[in-house]
């Protein structure tokens, strides 16, 4: 088991967020696993190396996006400079073209990305936290009026899906065995592999442009455990005999707003991918904003590695 895990460069820790060094020998890897297993036994789910994980997120994801955006803007700037020298008179016309090209290149980059949102937990790894998302419902009533009533029933759909699943798994069984390395056959398999989508040129949806159902904003709630524990024990220590344990729990428990996505450091007008691109630029360039982001990522618990 360990051997198979090792060869696929896996990590094996629950909720673990570290990027493992793929150059470890199997002995080192097993030793690491044993040490971590012992730590889990000793420390439960106490956070370890989460700051270093977030630094890697900044470097491997946000920096990459930033550099790609910069690359597009730099190329565009160079082209613009050459043009300045050659044809100053037609500046305005070319400027428009330049902007259109920049927009097109950025649009192309943006549509190649998907944003994966990862939520904070109730378990107090940091402070407990949860999120309320808000989404655009403007125009929904008009949409409902033109809803297509000719769709087949989901029952019929699932009946057909069952046949597809049966056919797929049987036909693929007959196509090739594990040792086939023939390129043509491999291409054929990939072409007919229904687990790979046919790529089409489609319009961008609500994740990319503000429209019906686009997420607009979120409110991140959190529970400041230190504050409510303190309040509870203060109440219990007071001379007021009327306060029962249940009463003190009720009076001390509070949920606060931790932040909202349209305030610092996010300042996002909507939650579409182009806005995330802007945010990633800021998070990569500005250390102060990055520190604020980390503080919120760890639910204002003050966590540091």
């Amino acid at each position: 088991y360990l051997s198979s895990k090792f060869t696929s460069n896996n990590d094996n820790n629950d909720d673990d967020d570290e990027f493992y060094d793929n150059n470890l020998s199997i002995d080192e890897y097993i030793r690491d696993l044993a040490r971590e297993s012992k730590e889990v036994q000793m420390m439960g789910a106490a956070p370890v190396n989460k700051g270093s994980y977030m630094d890697k997120v900044r470097k491997e994801y946000y920096q990459k996006v930033f550099e790609e955006i910069e690359g597009i803007e730099d190329v565009d700037k160079q082209e613009g400079d050459e043009f300045e020298i050659k044809k100053k008179k037609k500046k305005n016309k070319k400027d428009k073209k330049k902007k259109r090209k920049l927009r097109r290149d950025l649009d192309q980059l943006i549509r190649e990305y998907n944003i994966i949102s990862i939520g904070a937990s109730i378990i107090p790894t940091f402070n407990p936290s949860f999120r309320v998302w808000e989404y655009n419902i403007t125009g929904l009533e008009d949409e409902l009026q033109v809803a297509n009533k000719n769709n087949k029933s989901w029952n019929d759909f699932f009946h057909e899906l069952e046949k597809i699943l049966q056919k797929e798994t049987i036909s693929m069984d007959n196509q090739a065995n594990d040792d086939d390395d023939d390129d043509e056959l491999e291409n054929l398999i990939i072409k007919n592999d229904k687990t790979i989508p046919k790529l089409t040129n489609h319009k961008l949806g609500p994740a990319y442009e503000n429209q019906l159902f686009t997420p607009i904003r979120y409110v991140q709630y959190y529970i400041n455990l230190e504050k409510i524990n303190h309040k509870y024990y203060e109440l219990m220590a007071s001379d007021n005999d009327d306060i029962s344990k249940e009463g003190a729990i009720r009076q001390s428990f509070e949920v606060d707003i931790e932040y909202v996505s349209n305030s610092d450091p996010y300042n996002m007008e909507t939650l579409i991918v182009p806005e995330y691109f802007e945010l990633m630029k800021k998070l990569y360039l500005d250390d102060e904003i990055w520190q604020e982001y980390l503080d919120l990522a760890f639910a204002k618990s003050g966590y540091k590695d």
């Binding site: 696929s8 896996n10 990590d11 629950d14 909720d15 967020d17 889990v40 420390m43 439960g44 789910a45 106490a46 989460k50 997120v57 994801y61 190649e112 998907n114 944003i115 994966i116 949102s117 990862i118 939520g119 937990s121 109730i122 378990i123 107090p124 940091f126 936290s129 949860f130 309320v132 998302w133 989404y135 419902i137 929904l140 809803a147 297509n148 769709n151 699932f158 797929e168 798994t169 069984d173 594990d178 687990t195 790979i196 989508p197 489609h202 949806g205 994740a207 990319y208 019906l212 159902f213 455990l225 524990n229 509870y232 024990y233 729990i249 428990f253 995330y276 982001y293 760890f298 618990s301």
Partner: protein
């Protein structure tokens, strides 16, 4: 909702809650070094003792009091202001105390308890719940976590006892016509607005590197392969209906978590359907952040 012949007021808001990890053995005043389960040392310093609501970064799971108060707050403050709930798994304490080994029965028990709590909070308050138990005032869409299965992380292709048990536990949340497919793999979708807006709940354990019972998404006998066929067909049908959809699950679809072929294929699906997918929401990692996933790497890889 034409099938129920009912109108529903939409608020344009929904809740995402994840990784609750309630711990029935959490004991106020116990030693933090003992997973907040018992007192072993004479050390009376407050910083080493388990407080009533739990302590951040201490390594203990969630006290039942904290969980109950959180749900009460949601009941009082959010219930009437949201349209649906994304609930992305891990509904049981960690298995980190040899004195109290976690059992399959305990896992099912806590998942059922939480399922009932959420059902009670969000069921229709119009008094017709008994007539139609699927008619929730606020839809709850659960997804399975790597701690919700026994043994930890290990989940095989259905139908199995575990897939059937989860259907029983989540019976109020799973549309009846999807029971058969749910039994095969614990993935399903819920229509929030019929033919307009849906949430697809993915069983990410079939794509998860740390599940030793699955290998990849290239072989047809793998549950991940079947899950991706199901996923593609659902998305295609939803596109045909001009629907929009959220994707949710427990383990986030990023390189470090998913088996490589599963990651690449999953990434291609969510990008190809970016005309209808509104967003991707997950739990598992306990850190509030986001990851941009680049499709070009997966295209090159495949």
């Amino acid at each position: 909702n034409p099938s129920l012949n009912k109108n529903k007021t939409l608020h344009g808001r929904f809740l995402h809650i994840t990784d609750i990890h309630p711990d029935q053995f959490y004991l106020e005043g116990s030693d933090i070094g003992e997973m907040c389960h018992r007192t072993k040392t004479d050390d009376s310093s407050k910083s080493n003792k388990a407080p009533i609501f739990g302590k951040a970064m201490a390594g203990c799971d969630t006290p039942i009091i904290l969980m109950n108060e959180t749900f009460k707050w949601i009941d009082k403050n959010l219930k009437d202001k949201i349209d649906f709930v994304m609930w992305t798994g891990d509904n049981i304490r960690h298995d980190n105390d040899r004195n109290y080994p976690r059992t399959e029965a305990e896992i099912f028990d806590y998942n059922l308890k939480l399922s009932n709590v959420l059902y009670d909070i969000f069921k229709d308050s119009n008094g017709d719940v008994d007539e139609n138990p699927y008619d929730l005032g606020v839809n709850v869409i659960p997804s399975i976590g790597n701690n919700d299965v026994f043994p930890h992380n290990m989940f095989s292709m259905g139908p199995t006892l575990q897939t059937r048990e989860f259907y029983r536990i989540w019976r109020h949340f799973i549309p009846q016509e999807q029971q058969r497919f749910f039994d095969n793999g614990v993935s399903f979708f819920t229509e929030i607005i019929p033919n307009k807006l849906a949430v697809i709940s993915i069983n990410t354990l079939y794509l998860f590197k740390s599940n030793p019972l699955v290998d990849n998404c290239t072989k047809k006998n793998q549950p991940g392969y079947k899950l991706l066929i199901w996923f593609g067909q659902i998305l295609t049908e939803m596109r045909k209906r001009n629907m929009k959809v959220w994707i949710i699950g427990h383990v986030p679809p990023i390189k470090k978590n998913f088996q490589k072929s599963c990651f690449d294929k999953f990434t291609l699906w969510i990008n190809e359907f970016s005309d209808i997918i509104i967003g991707n929401v997950y739990g598992h990692m306990n850190i509030d952040h986001f990851i941009p996933v680049d499709t070009r790497d997966s295209i090159d890889s495949i």
